[in-house]
């Protein structure tokens, strides 16, 4: 009953404020009338009676105000009032509001965009049951932390840690051709091969049919079954439930579709949606499954209740150490022995899945987050300055309100409401900016072989982030000016007519803001300068080959031929490619391209004895005839390989300059002999070519000693192909796709890519950071210049009279310009110095992302400082110029 009354009252308070206030008026008036009558009855004159009644109640407004305070939702009521007031204030100066909202939209939008990428790539949990129980196991050796597992190791781990954790493993196979049997209707889809426990451990269920179970993965042959991704099923098979039980050929092997995964399940790798899952034991990989050294599995586990990750890590470590101990004896290479001894198991929470994207981009994203936060801070200090200027226009209003009894807290609250309203409007527009910004950001993320599918739907976390960033920035830029402008009383407000030296405190805040802005901009400029110069240096690195005019591609054939036919087929492909008009040369290589990964082999040189602790394992490539010519790798001495360097010919090799220097110092390597390992056994060969060092692994990696062996001498794994074109290499793609299938039935050209693109995409991370930080560096500069301009323009109006007086007394125009400009320059210079100091410390944390530069690089610092000062000069010059060209008479009159 009581609560009902109260509720009714409170609702009235909220919704019917007007009539409540009228009732209050009536009530107090009624009281005054009664009191007056009583006074009259005591014999006062009507005027006296009325005055005495008013005195007794002590200020009608005061009583009414206190009664309003007694109402329950006073705070909400005030808020509504403040919001209405703020909206009116914004309407009165739409220009200022628009500038503020726009710069906030940019700042908040940029923050939201970067955060939603971070959220998607780094924070979102896998869409499975209890993701917090999931862990990822890795093999750690040396600097490498992401080592994968062999199948025997996985089995041993499953056997010995079964009480603590359920383990499963998968291997991503990238793209595979998928289609119904017996048709040419195939297309590329992403394939993941999994152990039988995979779906159960992850807790992923089937939307249709069933998932792969442990029985499907029994060696030797497994069951030829496949589970489809939900989205793939929808797109490729139009959500047809009749797909169950049908046969699908995946990478040349027929499988029966047994199920479709639950809709939101995409596998374990964020940003890389799996289309088809098949059991490991049912793929051609099964041949190598039992080999100890074949490490290709990513391992994920689900902790049993009450078991800690550390426990599992320790148990697994024991298993690994024991299994490796057996191998150490067999290893001949001391480096390999060392690696085996140093291996450990690492475990980390896997609630968010695996992600190559995350490994590669979490550091840049963190840096970008810091940069956009800096931009937002600059925008905030800009708006704080604007608010300060507006507060001075409202000085009298605020002074009067303070004088007639408004509490300071109440006024601050109202001013803050205005700021937060502004920042919320900025945040709302920021969401739109972020939507666009996210897509722009994704543009910089390289294609990792399979189409990137990142779900950027803003979730509750992103929206909460945007909301809190908006509110916090509103308070951030609103609080200082609000406190400052409510500090004085009426006396201050009324006394402070325009004139020299008025309201120093507020000017000090304004100047601090300018200096702080300059410092922040300086910091951002230095950071972006470092990233841009890093990219420039990386791009200037001589990779050792001529990447222009080169196109690389793969050849896919059904039913892989045996070695003799294989070499013959490769020869025909190259011959055909060479016959295409515009192709200058064509060749092929195994591990001879550009990018990570490669083949290593033990190499011994005639007349060279390695020290005991020295590694004899070297990077190597198996390359086809005219390989050096096609890749544009300069021959220093000797010759390129030809078609005659085959099994029947004397064994030959080529070495790069680093290898020649390593084995033979300054002596001529040509004609010397080396020994190395091939699958077929040890080979001894004569060095016939010496080539320039090539950075196969990318610009950041130094050049290593490298061995090139002719592909045709000894069997090799299937190679990648390369052509050198006379014109644009991209134009060759269609000709290759048209002509090469004629070589053999059902032959496909896959993944054609120009070498320039490959080199470019290897710098994607650097390019992303450089472009985005550069973009925001410019924005920071722009915002800072707006800040300087605004403050200077305001100061100039304030000092118009002073300028007038000085000019009447004979000051020259140039002196006046300098007087005003000097202030701006001094502030910015102070900011630049502070920014430089902070930058030289802060940029140390990004040292690992730089190349060829020290964090406190002097050139970058100087350039950034020069840019800052130039911008300050330009932004300060206009208002200074205007002030100095004012007519002294007019200036004096406005006093």
């Amino acid at each position: 009953m009581r609560w009902l009354d109260i509720l009714q009252l409170r609702l009235r308070t909220l919704l019917d404020r007007g009539s409540l206030d009228r009732e209050l008026d009536d009530e107090v008036r009624h009281h005054l009338e009664l009191e007056t009558e009583r006074n009259l009855a005591r014999g006062m004159t009507p005027e006296q009676a009325r005055a005495a009644a008013c005195r007794a109640i002590g200020g009608m407004a005061h009583v009414q105000e206190e009664c309003r305070d007694a109402r329950g939702f006073r705070y909400l009521e005030d808020l509504a009032q403040d919001v209405r007031y703020a909206a009116r204030a914004m309407r009165r100066s739409p220009g200022i509001a628009a500038v503020a909202v726009a710069s906030l939209a940019l700042g908040i939008g940029a923050n939201t965009a970067v955060f939603s990428l971070i959220n998607t790539i780094m924070l979102k949990s896998l869409p499975v049951a209890h993701p917090e129980q999931l862990i990822q196991l890795t093999r750690i050796y040396g600097n490498s932390v992401g080592g994968s597992f062999s199948y025997p190791l996985l089995q041993q781990l499953q056997k010995e840690t079964g009480d603590a954790v359920d383990l499963a493993a998968s291997s991503r196979r990238g793209s595979a051709r998928v289609g119904p049997p017996g048709t040419a209707d195939t297309e590329q889809a992403t394939l993941e091969t999994v152990t039988g426990e995979y779906f159960n451990v992850l807790g992923a269920t089937a939307a249709l049919g069933r998932t792969i179970q442990p029985d499907d993965n029994r060696l030797p042959n497994g069951s030829p079954v496949a589970v489809l991704g939900y989205r793939y099923w929808r797109q490729r098979f139009a959500s047809d439930p009749a797909i169950l039980g049908q046969t699908l050929v995946v990478a040349d092997v027929p499988y029966i579709v047994i199920g479709v995964a639950q809709p939101e399940f995409f596998g374990v790798e964020v940003g890389n949606r799996t289309d088809v899952w098949v059991p490991l034991a049912a793929t051609p990989q099964r041949k190598w499954l039992l080999q100890m050294g074949f490490n290709f599995l990513g391992v994920i586990g689900r902790l049993k209740p009450g078991v800690s990750m550390a426990q599992v890590r320790a148990q697994s470590d024991l298993v690994l150490t024991r299994m490796n101990a057996r191998q150490v004896f067999k290893a001949r290479d001391p480096r390999q022995r060392q690696q085996l001894l140093e291996q450990h198991i690492g475990a980390k929470p896997a609630a968010t899945g695996f992600s190559r994207l995350r490994d590669q981009f979490s550091e840049p994203l963190r840096v970008l987050m810091a940069i956009v936060a800096g931009v937002l801070l600059i925008a905030c200090s800009n708006i704080a300055n604007l608010q300060l200027a507006r507060a001075s226009a409202r000085e009298r209003e605020i002074g009067v309100r303070l004088a007639i009894g408004a509490g300071r807290l109440r006024l601050v609250r109202q001013l803050l409401t205005e700021s937060v309203l502004l920042s919320l409007a900025g945040g709302l527009c920021g969401v739109a900016v972020a939507w666009w910004g996210c897509r722009a950001l994704l543009h910089f993320v390289p294609d990792l072989g399979t189409p990137l599918s990142v779900d950027l739907q803003p979730d509750a976390r992103v929206l909460a982030f945007t909301l809190s960033v908006s509110i916090v920035s509103g308070i951030l830029f609103g609080l200082g000016p609000a406190l400052r402008s409510t500090r004085g009383g009426l006396d201050v407000a009324l006394k402070s007519e325009r004139g020299v030296g008025h309201n120093r405190a507020r000017r000090r805040l304004g100047r601090t803001l300018i200096a702080a802005q300059a410092a922040l901009s300086m910091l951002l400029l230095v950071a972006s300068g470092l990233f841009i110069r890093t990219l420039m240096k990386l791009e200037a690195v001589d990779l050792g080959f001529d990447s222009s005019h080169v196109l690389t591609f793969g050849i896919n054939v059904l039913a892989g031929p045996n070695p003799p036919q294989q070499n013959e087929l490769i020869g025909r492909v190259v011959e055909r490619a060479q016959s295409i008009p515009g192709v200058i040369a064509a060749s092929y290589a195994f591990c001879g391209g550009y990018g990570p990964g490669g083949w290593t082999t033990d190499v011994h040189a005639e007349g060279y004895t390695p020290r005991d602790d020295e590694s004899i394992s070297f990077d190597a490539s198996r390359v086809g005839p005219r390989y050096f010519e096609t890749m544009g790798i300069p021959l220093v001495a000797g010759r390129d390989f030809t078609g005659r360097d085959d099994d029947k010919a004397p064994k030959v090799v080529a070495v790069n300059q680093s290898m020649a220097r390593h084995f033979f110092g300054t002596q001529n390597p040509l004609g010397r002999r080396v020994r190395f390992e091939l699958q077929s056994g040890t080979v001894e060969a004569e060095i016939v070519g010496l080539v320039k060092d090539v950075r196969h692994h990318g610009a950041r990696k130094g050049s290593a000693a490298w061995l090139y062996t002719p592909y045709l001498q000894g069997a090799g794994p299937w190679p990648d192909f390369t052509v050198r074109a006379a014109g644009a290499p991209g134009a060759m793609i269609s000709a290759l796709r048209r002509d090469l299938p004629a070589v053999q039935a059902r032959l496909q050209v896959t993944d054609p890519q120009t070498l320039d693109e490959e080199v470019g995409s290897s710098l994607a991370r650097e390019r992303m950071v450089a472009s985005i930080s550069g973009f925001f560096g410019v924005i920071a500069l722009l915002l800072a210049s707006i800040g300087v301009y605004g403050t200077m323009a305001y100061n100039v109006t304030r000092r118009t009279a002073e300028v007038g007086i000085r000019m009447t007394l004979g000051a020259r125009q140039g002196e006046m310009v300098w007087m005003i400009l000097r202030e701006a320059l001094l502030l910015v210079a102070a900011g630049v110095l502070i920014g430089a100091a902070v930058a030289s410390a802060a940029t140390r944390s990004i040292a690992s992302m730089l190349f060829g530069l020290h964090p406190g690089d002097l050139t970058t610092m100087t350039l950034a400082a020069a840019a800052m000062l130039a911008v300050a000069l330009a932004a300060g010059y206009l208002p200074a110029r205007r002030a100095a060209s004012v007519d002294p008479m007019r200036a004096l009159r406005c006093e």
Binding site: R2, D5, E27, H30, H31, A56, G58, V63, C67, A70
Partner: protein
């Protein structure tokens, strides 16, 4: 900014509740009645009477209705709710405890 109050806030609430227990009346009458009954010892500050009435109303202890006063003017009449009656009992009990305790101390010295 402290305001001079003649009565401690809790006491004013008690006095208002007790006065309204006699029957519905408007604000001015509440003030007059308190003054009368206390033989002009207790002067209720008119400035704090209305905020107190509104606060009590917000808490659901008294209810307000518009009606016609003795000389036919519209006035806001306050009356005790059932919750208010209970509250009055509690306040009275605690007041008696307090005054008895004070009396003990004062007499002992």
């Amino acid at each position: 900014m402290g305001k001079p109050t003649d009565l401690v806030q809790g006491t004013l609430d008690l006095l208002i509740l007790k006065t309204l227990a006699l029957g519905p009346m408007h604000g001015w009458a509440v003030g007059q009645r308190i003054q009368q009954i206390s033989n002009d010892v207790l002067q209720v500050q008119q400035g704090s009477l209305y905020p107190a009435l509104h606060r009590l109303e917000q808490q659901g202890w008294i209810r307000a209705e518009w009606g016609d006063s003795e000389n036919n003017r519209r006035a806001k009449f306050y009356s005790l709710t059932r919750a208010g009656q209970k509250r009055l009992g509690e306040e009275l009990a605690s007041w008696e405890r307090l005054s008895a305790a004070i009396a003990l101390v004062v007499k002992a010295v």
